[in-house]
Symmetry: C2
Subunit: 345 residues, 2 copies
């Protein structure tokens, strides 16, 4: 919330005035968007494609802390988090609706910052903002986004479908967003004690960006198509690798062997984990918010994927009776569940 | 929140356990729903139909007061409010997603009540619950619903399209939900002063039901089809007749003459308005939450609609230069705007 600019209260504009101001720059980019903002409902035309729909609700104090998250980043991230779910279906996001509830502490200019981030993400991911709701809350900010996308019936990928011997693959690297969050929280605590202290963030750009400005894997459906691969199951990594593996296993009725030494991690992630005396694998398994894609492919597709730098093979699926195991660097197999590697962060 | 039942805390179940419990009775009813709850996104197939999408966000203390709104009613109403927007496009709702954020004060049983209302509305309106998000808030309850429906390209009706001489029509009667709210708020104030006082609600079932358990006009698209009428513009009445007329006029670039003596109101609405010393027309114009449909038709369709008991002709559209006027019972034309009949309730 910039201190240089004039601050306009939301009540000065009213609900409709606010909507007009926040959405004045919205341009429709997709052929499937027939009518956008400004009616009782948006109208879309997907012709022979299937429609894929996902939704998320973010609340202040639970999902974000405005002490260290700029509103523009928050808007960007809120969109990315949602469309990541669409890519996880091997589909392409085309539209979003954005609803916000705000308390009196937010000025129009603050909400413009939020929408600047939302619009930036829409630009980057070629998504149309087609509707929403703007309303009041008694306390804090609530953001609800629904993402809508299109996929071909034959290539939409669900969580169910993995089979024993399928290879488990992941994009990018893991644990960075979590270590970025640890760093921000540490510096925020220091700041609360002594507001004159400058936060020590230098040299950690990558993990800070992973936390504050994550990107969704827009490139993956196209790469998979080019390689001629349709994954047997897929999910995005929002809650941590461990939780997502369990979702794939549960929905597909299989087990999994995950190899600790295969899990890709950036050097900054490892370095920050060391500073916090955290085993880096814990950040990857339980950290969450990486928004990478986790998927399984048939063993027959191994040759197609083995040399592709976008993907890392981190394990393979097994019979359900074999359980879900982390094979450690020392060579022992530890059940992921028994380690407390579950979704309740 | 029943006092007889055991109260289970949400944290005992965890997010995924809670979702499983709240959605265990969900059954898919529509052919267009390919995949529902349980993946990164729902998958829908609309074939040659267009897709219509609308979304609303409701926050505790602003949109509802749990002092006098039972959670089951709230869940029902939250769905109705959303699908009303789909009917207002002359389309048929087929799916909803429901996201909720709850504070620690809500038990699992309380949320089951909320979902019982949501499920009841889904049954009644033949809509599938296909996804959502269940998360925490620091204070109170937030409900975000996105409704998705289908329409034919040729018969989807927007707010824009009304022409001068078109007839302005409305379904049902107006002002009841607002007077029901006044009654509930009055009795709630009495209760806060003296909790032993029994609320005086007898004899006002209709207006209470209009407020607590509104229905969307599911019947209207079918009736219009049977009559062979495609409205030239349409909107649902959520903010009051005055605000909605202005939306139609603004989007269509026309003016309007509304006749006070034509506006349909129930006797209970008029009676309660009298008790509160409110002119009943004010309740209809500014009250909101009636969820009736307001639409315009070509004068050529007058013969088709004139004897239909579902609709009342309450005015006609004019050139924009003539303004938007209420023609009072006394015969004078009052600009709606100048009266302060606007959306800022």
């Amino acid at each position: 919330m910039s201190k240089e600019r004039n601050q306009t209260s939301v009540s000065e504009l009213g609900e409709f005035g606010l909507i007009d101001r926040l959405t004045k720059d919205v341009e429709i980019k997709n052929e499937s968007t027939i009518e956008g903002i400004g009616d009782d409902a948006a109208v879309l035309d997907y012709k022979d494609k299937q429609v894929v729909v996902s939704t998320d609700l973010l609340t202040e104090g639970i999902h974000f802390n405005l002490m260290y998250v700029p509103l523009k980043h928050l808007g960007y991230k809120a969109v990315v988090v949602n469309i990541s779910d669409i890519y996880a279906m091997n589909a392409i996001p085309k539209q979003i609706t954005v609803s916000i509830a705000v308390s009196g502490k937010f000025s129009v200019e603050a909400l413009e910052d939020l929408y600047a981030g939302i619009n930036l993400a829409c630009e980057k991911y070629n998504v149309d903002l087609v509707g929403g709701d703007t309303t009041s809350s008694l306390t804090g900010l609530v953001i609800s986004i629904t993402a809508i996308g299109e996929g071909q019936k034959e290539t939409i990928v669900k969580r169910a479908g993995a089979k024993p011997t399928d290879l488990l693959c992941v994009t990018g690297d893991l644990g960075g967003a979590y270590m970025g969050l640890q760093l921000l929280e540490r510096e925020n605590e220091v700041f609360k004690v002594n507001p004159k202290m400058q936060p020590k963030l230098a040299g950690y750009d990558y993990i800070l960006e992973r936390q504050l400005k994550p990107e969704a894997r827009q490139d993956v459906p196209a790469i998979l198509k080019k390689l001629g691969i349709v994954p047997t199951s897929m999910i995005d990594i929002s809650d941590g690798l461990s939780s997502e593996i369990m979702h794939l296993c549960k929905n597909s009725g299989v087990g999994c062997s995950l190899f600790e030494d295969k899990v890709p991690m950036d050097n900054q992630t490892k370095q920050m984990a060391e500073e916090f005396s955290i085993n880096p694998i814990v950040a990857a398994l339980n950290g969450g918010e990486d928004y990478e894609l986790l998927f399984t492919i048939s063993l027959d597709d191994y040759e197609k994927i083995k040399n592709d730098p976008d993907f890392t093979i981190i394990g393979h699926m097994t019979e359900a009776s074999e359980g879900i195991n982390l094979v450690t660097n020392a060579g022992s197999a530890i059940p992921l569940e028994a380690q407390g590697w579950n979704h309740d962060k």
